[in-house]
């Protein structure tokens, strides 16, 4: 088993790519840079495929397959190894990350072709792949945290990729700071976990957590505290209320970055971490409730903001926040498998949506405002058709990947709480509306750009081929769950079942109990109806009578302002948190503490020594005879002291 025995090779390949491009690539032509970056990601994808093939042949008692390479930290009772491990959950993440990552690398060679920072871009992107693979392959929380911070760093570097633009550097800083808050919670969670279980290894912590008696509902016990702290970390990384504010701004980065990091992989790390820790969450009902409510609230909240955005990437950004909310909703109602399922399908269709949006932006020569597009359908047909597939997938059209995953989440939510289910269905309708609004504004209707200035052209092959591959995945990616509709087995859930043994039992029983008219029920289910209404509404507003949206905006101007101002959350944070912090730092910490206390102490020490030196200087008269006298006196004093002590 070449790959599983040498598991380190998987994260090492992209690291090598990053190192070669970053260190030696300065004078190489672009073709060499892309050759290095592409070969490293291609090889890692092939290695992942081979690794998965070997994994599937493993006997069940060898799963999770763990490889310990060396002791990383050993301090007192604490030990942390550099250890990688593979189980079914890792396999899903591994395929998503390497597969989608590979496609996006190919796409980037076309999209970034004329950028002066070509080499820097690919070095960062490969480095990101390395850290993401460490994150998902880690066998303990500490190593996972290394990957976690590493992807955060790459995210920061790539958001601020166009660092000459003030808004891009600001967005990078914002992402970094907001993530610090989340990561602080994560670290606290890890410390509490170590204190409780004496270890940070998955293989030690999770069985012990599962064996503990559950915290009583509505009360905060140790497990609930750990779970909530981990969720704070997840909320930061995966852009949930109240820490979601960085993700929409992160769209300042190049579009392939938005696709890879801020849609398909990194932002889902929080969901992965939550699912990995499901043993803790299942014994902490209060934390589960918090996760579900916040996830549902985020899904609805972000979807409403997405309704009125005019920047094509901003719509997709809020859509990502909203879909991540769905995943957390799934975790909150105990459907961890459904959460991971949605994570996977979301990686396909949202990655595709961003890449297609990038293709549109490329075709429009950098224009991102949808009000200045329109009628692009015939000009860029490949982009249009692939984006159409992705839109159907995210809107939950029956048969497409998003349909299966969203349906599953909402089914699970219905059994836990009708309110969560209702809000989820409402969000599904809003999702269909804003996605078709995007599609109609961009590709249908009159062309609203100046043809003399914008030369609309279809993207090159290396951009369209990844689009087509992702479109196929967006359509078919959910079919693993399809047999469930005719009373069969959900293959995806069954595959994950060994990892999530406790979490997925209700799902299978639910499938068995209802049976019968599953297909009819699913096809006429509330999410599909809501999606249909959303679609029809978008069609009516943006195709049938394009003047209506303006009228509606005018008659509900207060609501419209609230939505297009993103509920003024950024302004609220600025007034309540940022400004007071800056004020305290400036007026108190800088001028009083730093200048007064710290500088005062340092300068005081210097002043005292210089004063003392000045006094002592007078003893040096330059008179040799007085020096001689001092020497003699010194000898006399010390000799008598010595004699006195001997006696």
């Amino acid at each position: 088993m070449p790959v599983l025995d040498y598991l380190w090779i998987i994260p090492l390949l992209p690291l090598l790519g990053a190192a070669i491009n970053g260190i030696f690539g300065a004078r190489w032509p672009k073709s060499a840079t892309s050759a290095v970056a592409l070969s490293s990601t291609t090889l890692v994808f092939l290695a992942a495929l081979e690794g998965v093939r070997e994994f599937l042949m493993l006997p069940a008692n060898q799963i999770p397959w763990t490889k310990t390479y060396f002791t990383w930290i050993s301090a007192g009772g604490f030990q942390s190894d550099f250890a990688l491990s593979v189980d079914q959950l890792t396999v899903v993440m591994l395929l998503v990350v390497t597969g989608v990552g590979w496609l996006i690398h190919i796409y980037s060679t076309g999209y970034m072709h004329d950028d002066p920072g070509y080499r820097r871009f690919f070095a960062y992107l490969n480095l990101f792949m390395f850290f993401m693979l460490i994150l998902i392959l880690a066998a303990n929380y500490l190593l996972m945290f290394v990957g976690w911070e590493g992807v955060g760093l790459c995210s920061y570097l790539l958001i601020g990729f166009f660092f000459l633009k003030q808004s891009a550097t600001n967005a990078g800083n914002k992402a970094f700071w907001v993530n610090r808050i989340g990561d602080f919670g994560f670290i606290l969670g890890l410390l509490l976990m170590f204190r409780t279980f004496g270890s940070l290894n998955f293989s030690t912590v999770l069985p012990r957590a599962a064996a503990m008696t559950a915290d009583p509902a509505g009360q905060i016990g140790t497990l609930t505290a750990i779970a909530l702290l981990l969720f704070v970390g997840a909320a930061g990384k995966s852009a949930q209320i109240p820490l979601y504010v960085w993700l929409p701004d992160a769209m300042e980065g190049p579009t392939p970055v938005s696709a890879l990091i801020h849609a398909a992989t990194m932002v889902t790390a929080g969901v992965y971490m939550l699912v990995r820790s499901h043993a803790i969450f299942l014994n902490a009902p209060a934390a589960m409730q918090a996760v579900g409510v916040i996830g549902c609230a985020t899904a609805l909240f972000a979807a409403t903001i997405g309704l009125v955005q005019t920047d094509i990437k901003k719509v997709l950004a809020y859509s990502t926040v909203s879909q991540l909310g769905y995943m957390f909703l799934a975790c909150g109602v105990g459907a961890f498998g459904a959460g991971i399922f949605h994570l996977m399908t979301h990686a396909f269709f949202k990655g595709l949506l961003f890449l297609a949006a990038g293709s549109v932006i490329h075709a429009m020569g950098g224009e991102q405002d949808m009000r200045k597009m329109g009628g692009l359908r015939q000009k860029i047909p490949v982009t249009f058709w692939t984006m159409f597939m992705a839109t159907l997938a995210i809107a939950g059209a029956p048969g497409f990947s998003g349909f299966f995953s969203k349906d599953e989440i909402l089914n699970e939510a219905q059994r836990v709480s009708p309110v969560l289910w209702g809000l989820g269905v409402l969000t599904a309708g809003l999702t269909a509306f804003y996605m078709f609004r995007l599609l109609f504004l961009t590709f249908f209707g009159k062309q609203r750009y100046d043809e003399h200035h914008v030369h609309v052209h279809e993207s090159p092959k290396n951009m369209t081929v990844p689009l087509i591959v992702l479109a196929i995945l967006s359509v078919c990616g959910g079919w693993m769950a399809a047999p469930q509709l005719v009373g069969g087995i959900n293959h995806f859930q069954q595959f994950l079942a060994p990892v999530l043994s406790t979490g997925t039992e209700p799902a299978t029983t639910a499938a068995e109990s209802t049976g019968g008219n599953e297909i009819l029920q699913a096809l006429t289910g509330a999410p599909v109806i809501a999606g249909l209404i959303g679609f029809l509404l978008a069609w009516w507003l943006y195709i049938k009578s394009p003047g209506t949206p303006k009228k509606i905006a005018a008659s509900f101007s207060a609501l419209y302002k609230l939505l297009s101002g993103k509920y003024f959350i950024d302004e609220l944070y600025l007034a309540v948190i940022v400004r007071p912090l800056v004020w305290i730092s400036d007026k108190i910490l800088w001028h009083v503490v730093d200048e007064g206390a710290i500088d005062g102490a340092v300068n005081g020490v210097a002043h005292v020594s210089s004063e003392a030196g000045d006094r002592l200087r007078r003893a040096s008269t330059g008179n040799i005879r007085s020096y001689a006298t001092w020497i003699v006196l010194g000898v006399v004093v010390f000799t008598s002291l010595l004699l006195w002590m001997v006696d």
Binding site: R617, S620, T621, G622, N623, I624, R625, A628, T629
Partner: protein, 100 residues
């Protein structure tokens, strides 16, 4: 046989004279000679103890002191000559340029 205390008293007297000259004389050459006087006073004490205790270490030490004193005389006299050349005087009261 002369008692050891006689030698020690003589050594102490010589050393005391050396100290007094070291502190009060103004001529560098005299100061220098007073240092030599102190060294030899100590040598005398060493030899006296060596004889009284019947051990050789004291005498060995005296040889070291003589060697060091010879080296010191070579360097010290060179310095004295240089001071005389540069300042035209050997009075330490006038050699005080270290002050400030």
């Amino acid at each position: 046989m002369v008692p050891t205390s006689y030698y020690l008293v003589l050594s102490a007297v010589l050393f005391g004279l050396g100290v007094i000259a070291f502190v009060f004389k103004r001529n560098i050459l005299t100061i220098f000679m007073s240092i030599e006087l102190m060294l030899n006073a100590v040598n005398l004490a060493f030899v006296a103890f060596s004889r009284a205790l019947g051990q050789l270490q004291g005498q060995v030490f005296v040889f070291f002191v003589i060697v060091v004193a010879a080296a010191e005389a070579a360097v010290g006299l060179a310095i004295v000559i240089l001071i005389h050349r540069n300042r035209g005087t050997l009075n330490v009261e006038n050699v005080n340029s270290l002050k400030d």
